[in-house]
């Protein structure tokens, strides 16, 4: 009868570990979104400087993708929803897998 609490505790720990794991927001290149629009979104939504926004935008354009923000899964999910609202092609990924 003592097994249950142990199991529960174990599950809670596993969930806590998953929640703590850092996630990243990846923005992918596509031939439709304007460079000016992507820069504007990076500056206005993330508050990045012109230099940082342009650097990330050029990375998307030239390398095909860029890691644009990092944080908890919850934060990155909100970022992805915001990017989809703007029409950017954005996905989330575990930081160590990106």
């Amino acid at each position: 009868m003592t097994a249950m609490p142990d199991v529960l505790e174990h599950v809670e720990q596993a969930q806590a570990l998953q929640a703590d794991q850092p996630y990243v927001l990846i923005v992918w290149n596509d031939p439709v979104n304007l460079m000016s629009y992507v820069s504007y979104v990076f500056r206005s939504y993330f508050g990045y400087s012109e230099a940082k926004a342009d650097e990330l935008m050029m990375q998307v354009h030239q390398a095909g993708r860029s890691v644009v923000s990092t944080g908890t899964r919850e934060k990155i999910e909100a970022d992805v929803a915001a990017m989809h609202g703007f029409g950017l092609w954005a996905t989330l990924s575990k930081a160590d897998a990106a």
């Binding site: 031939p31 439709v32 000016s36 629009y37 989809h84 029409g87 954005a90 996905t91 897998a97």
Partner: protein, 189 residues
């Protein structure tokens, strides 16, 4: 002739011909139709208000099957289909409602020849115009940089004989309008 967006004391302003406004209004309405969720006649309006889909937890809930709609609402987690679907259950309805709101506002702005956008309305208009471009691009099969350049090179309305040639010119017009707005908005940041 249309006059591109520029910064003025009243906000970001552009002037469009009546035929151009009619064209744009139709495009905004087309994208609204793509995004409008299927609504039950007896659906509680609370679902829409909180941005949730009453079907989200049913077994048949899936990603949109139309490629253009899917481009507007891409998978959030391409490595994990279950997580991607869970993201849709929680977020997709809200994203659809926000996009529809911006598109309706944009369609209404086509009622007057001079478009005036304040600092809050401008990003919503830019997003609505961007969604129109994404849908047109999907219909045109625009997938690569080369496709984009080939479409961009088409600039003669008198030579547009096919639907695709006409759509390409429409795409270029909408691109020109958005680019002028983005340049004006970047200057004001």
């Amino acid at each position: 002739m249309a006059r591109a967006f520029k910064n003025t004391k009243r906000g970001f302003t552009a002037t469009l011909e009546s035929a151009e406004r009619k064209l744009l209004r139709g495009l905004f309405q087309d994208v609204i139709q793509l995004l409008e969720p299927e609504r039950e006649p007896d659906e509680d309006p609370l679902w829409a208000m909180v941005g949730l889909d009453p079907h989200a937890h049913k077994d048949h809930f899936a990603a949109p099957s139309d490629p253009a709609t899917r481009r507007l609402l891409p998978d959030a987690d391409p490595d994990d289909p279950i997580a991607a679907l869970e993201f849709r259950r929680l977020s997709e309805r809200g994203i659809r409602e926000r996009k529809i709101g911006a598109l309706r506002e944009a369609a209404m702005l086509m009622d007057s020849a001079t478009i005036v956008l304040g600092p809050e309305a401008a990003p919503r208009f830019a997003a609505a115009v961007n969604d129109v471009r994404l849908v047109l691009a999907e219909r045109l099969g625009l997938e690569t940089q080369e496709d984009a350049e080939a479409i961009h090179a088409q600039d003669d309305w008198s030579k547009a004989d096919t639907v695709d040639e006409y759509l390409a010119l429409v795409y270029n017009f909408v691109t020109w309008l958005q680019e002028s707005l983005m340049q004006a908005m970047l200057k004001s940041l």
